[in-house]
């Protein structure tokens, strides 16, 4: 499955260990191991910050250099300009308070956009027209965002807006996310926007304040990693399975300190939705960001979107965007080849996204996962295929776009959700919801016995009241299976929309490839 020419991930016998130490330390790996192909010890910062330097550049180098307001020198980091700042209710209030307390204003409200997603209810309004927000502090936080946006002239897509949705879903669908940009948000899944050839990364609240006040951040350059993905993705396997597979090999900290560029024929053949799924989970291997060079697929996606350039300006932009590629002889600190021709659906068995395996594999024997297995009530040597589930969740910034809903709907059409299983479908945005409804997907889900909800982050982090109970097993299209992520004591198995839908029908973790009704399906 993994190319032997470059041997990074060498054989399937190693793979089944699910071990995190294959890429536990990039520096060790570079110096001590033959497993890394084209590695180099170049100091990224130095090699790319010399004025007049004509050495080959990675896409990350180009994005970085074009946003330098002040080059770092000595101990001082560089000052990096931010083109687009996305904010939401949870990580922004303290930042607004900080700049207000210092008598500062938002420097570029025109480059700042806000939405409500993390804590909003997905169950719709009550009979009296009010929103059933989980508690008064969540309500206060939502009010605070509205006040902060109003006071500072920031466009807010609130609960009444047709543009509201999960921040990483609406940025691209509104055409705000464009190639060549630097994009930040107080949310680690900001890496999603890298699918468009932008440098996008998550920041903390102090940095949200820095960007609000100055539109800049103090940054040191990360190292570079390229993951070349080749092969045709098999039927019933998806971009989600590809990224879960990659993370299972890198480990949850395997890309710490790096920016990943995804390349290769598989990536080129992917739709923008699929590329976003790939980049979205870069952070789950610890990466600072994930990037994909833009191409015609990207430009076609952007054309005609509300905030995208139009007419001649669009053509001119495309001309510039085409330059956003790594030079052919660019050198990466780490380079990895992955062949997905024989990939099967992926599931996680443990309590971080690195603890993943192919669905027919058995949970590995590894002392390092004992606490995780104790929490998950799974055992080494067992398969989780067939494990009884309580909830199936389709949603989150990883997998709540139209194509995700379509893939799940194809599986569930004409079927019934198993007795005792709750299947919650949460579209990523108002727009995704209305597009899905125009295609009749809502009816397919509802007729199957699923719940068709309003957009939001919902059970991905379970802070809006959509939670699993203690001990319940959830199969989820979201991005994190940390302890308690979907409710205190809840147990999460991460998987693709297809696998989640197949499991909802089966009532247990299921492999869509072997569901009789689907075996003749054309997908």
């Amino acid at each position: 499955m993994i190319s032997d020419s470059r041997n990074m991930i060498s054989s399937s016998t190693n793979m089944t260990t699910g071990s995190n130490d294959m890429i536990s330390s990039s520096s060790n790996m570079i110096s001590n191991s033959n497993n890394v192909v084209s590695s180099s010890n170049k100091d990224s910062a130095e090699s790319t910050e010399k004025p007049g330097d004509h050495s080959p550049l990675t896409l990350y180098d180009k994005l970085w250099q074009s946003h330098l307001v002040r080059l770092g020198s000595g101990m001082m980091p560089s000052v990096l300009y931010i083109d687009l700042h996305l904010i939401h209710e949870v990580t922004s209030p303290q930042a607004f308070a900080q700049i207000k307390g210092r008598g500062l204003k938002v420097a570029r409200p025109d480059r700042t956009f806000a939405t409500m997603d993390h804590s909003i209810p997905t169950t719709g309004r009550l009979a009296d027209g009010t929103l059933p927000v989980i508690d008064s502090s969540a309500a206060m936080q939502l009010d605070q965002l509205a006040r902060n946006c109003k006071e500072n002239g920031i466009q807010l897509f609130d609960i009444t807006s047709t543009k509201q949705g999960i921040v990483h879903v609406i940025g691209p669908e509104l055409g705000l996310t464009q190639p060549g940009m630097t994009i930040v948000c107080g949310d680690s899944h900001s890496s999603t926007h890298g699918a468009f050839g932008s440098l996008a990364f998550g920041i903390g609240t102090s940095e949200v304040a820095h960007v609000l006040a100055t539109q800049c951040l103090l940054q040191k350059k990360s190292k570079s990693m390229r993951i070349n993905i080749d092969g045709i993705i098999p039927k019933f396997v998806s971009a989600k399975d590809v990224i879960l597979y990659v993370i299972s090999k890198l480990g949850v900290g395997g890309a710490t300190g790096h920016v990943i560029e995804y390349a290769g024929s598989t990536v080129r053949a992917m739709s923008m939705d699929e590329r976003m799924t790939l980049c979205n989970m870069s952070i789950e291997a610890g990466a600072r960001a994930g990037i994909i060079a833009p191409d015609d697929t990207t430009f076609q996606y952007i054309a005609g979107r509300e905030f995208a350039p139009t007419g001649q300006e669009f053509d001119r932009s495309v001309e510039i965007w085409r330059r956003l590629v790594s030079d052919s002889d660019a050198v990466f600190d780490i380079e990895i080849d992955v062949d997905v021709s024989n990939l099967t659906p992926m599931v996680t068995y443990g309590t971080n996204p690195g603890m993943g395996m192919q669905i027919e594999e058995a949970i590995p024997y590894d002392a390092g996962i004992s606490q995780a297995l104790e929490y998950m009530k799974f055992q080494s040597g067992d398969k989780i295929l067939g494990a009884k589930i309580d909830i199936a969740f389709l949603g989150s910034c990883t997998n709540s776009r139209l194509s995700d809903l379509q893939a799940a709907a194809e599986v569930i059409q004409g079927q019934k959700v198993a007795a005792g299983v709750k299947f919650i479908v949460v579209p990523g945005s108002k727009r995704v919801k209305s597009e899905a409804e125009a295609l009749g997907l809502d009816k397919i889900f509802i007729e199957a016995g699923a719940e068709w909800r309003e957009p939001g982050c919902s059970m991905c982090l379970a802070m809006n009241g959509d939670t699993a109970n203690r001990g319940q097993l959830v199969i989820s299209t979201s991005n994190r299976n940390f302890e308690g992520r979907q409710g205190a004591g809840s147990r999460t198995v991460l998987a693709s929309p297809i696998t989640v839908a197949a499991s909802a029908i089966a009532g247990s973790i299921a492999d869509a490839r072997y569901i009789p009704e689907l075996m003749g399906a054309s997908r």
Binding site: S73, V90, M140, T214, E483
Partner: protein, 246 residues
């Protein structure tokens, strides 16, 4: 004191606007010495949490994030590990063995006599992975943790911690095992970047030069960025004219 290269001196001074008054915060068994908002040294026994990949959802679960304040988050720190299902303290949590008052197991801000006696957390690899929530750093500090010793920190957590004066010390996994087993007071000297424990344990650690400077001096990055405002507008003007520069 960090040695600054010549061309950096003026910049560095400009961001170190705090006074240099030395103060010492002491609670039972723990001492934090600082100048201004900076931190010079920490002496305390360690709380040992021998787990790799501790994520920020454990440090502070998402349901505690519906706040508009940075304060008071210590009560939510490691909530699902510190408390049993029934709301009782989990006696097996390393955080609870330090609590002197069962009804008030939570730490408080430095200087408060109820601050926990242990202000150094010793833990496994890749601490702070996952979500970008700065609430994780705020919760650790509010609980009374002043330093975390790990073999590696996740990128966003590292960035957040250093903006709040939480000292991050990286040692090898082997050294962390030794340190965890000693059970003696640990001295972290931020200035000389050394960790000492007992008679024989002395290790140097490495910090990024700017991070070191920030921790020692309590530097606020926003002050520095605000001083770049004219360069920022120059950049914005140039970008508007010369779009090819991407």
């Amino acid at each position: 004191m960090t040695t600054l290269k010549n061309e950096q001196k003026s910049e560095a001074r400009s961001i170190a606007s705090e006074g240099r008054e030395v103060r010492s915060i002491t609670s039972e068994g723990s001492e934090v010495r600082s100048e201004g908002r900076g931190v010079r040294s920490i002496v305390s026994e360690g709380i040992v949490l021998p787990l790799d990949n501790v994520d920020t959802d454990q440090i502070i679960p998402a349901r505690f994030l519906t706040t508009v304040s940075r304060d008071g988050l210590g009560k939510a720190l490691f909530y699902d590990w510190r408390y049993e299902e029934n709301g009782e303290l989990n006696p097996n949590s390393p955080f609870n063995s330090i609590a002197s008052d069962k009804t008030s197991p939570v730490g408080a801000s430095a200087g408060n006599s109820k601050a926990p006696q242990k202000s150094i957390l010793i833990t496994g690899d890749n601490f702070g992975c996952g979500s970008s929530r700065e609430h994780a750093s705020w919760a650790l500090l509010d609980f009374g943790i002043r330093a975390v010793i790990s073999s590696r920190f996740a990128d966003i957590f590292r960035s957040n911690a250093q903006k709040n004066g939480l000292v991050l010390v990286e040692l090898s996994p082997e050294d962390i095992n030794v340190l965890s087993s000693l059970g003696l007071p640990i001295q972290i000297n931020v200035e000389s970047m050394t960790v000492q424990c007992g008679e024989g344990f002395v290790r140097n650690f490495v910090m990024d030069e700017f991070d070191h400077y920030k921790i020692l001096n309590g530097v606020d990055e926003l002050d520095y960025l605000l001083e770049c405002r004219s360069e920022i507008s120059d950049y914005e003007n140039k970008k508007t004219i010369d779009r090819d520069n991407i």
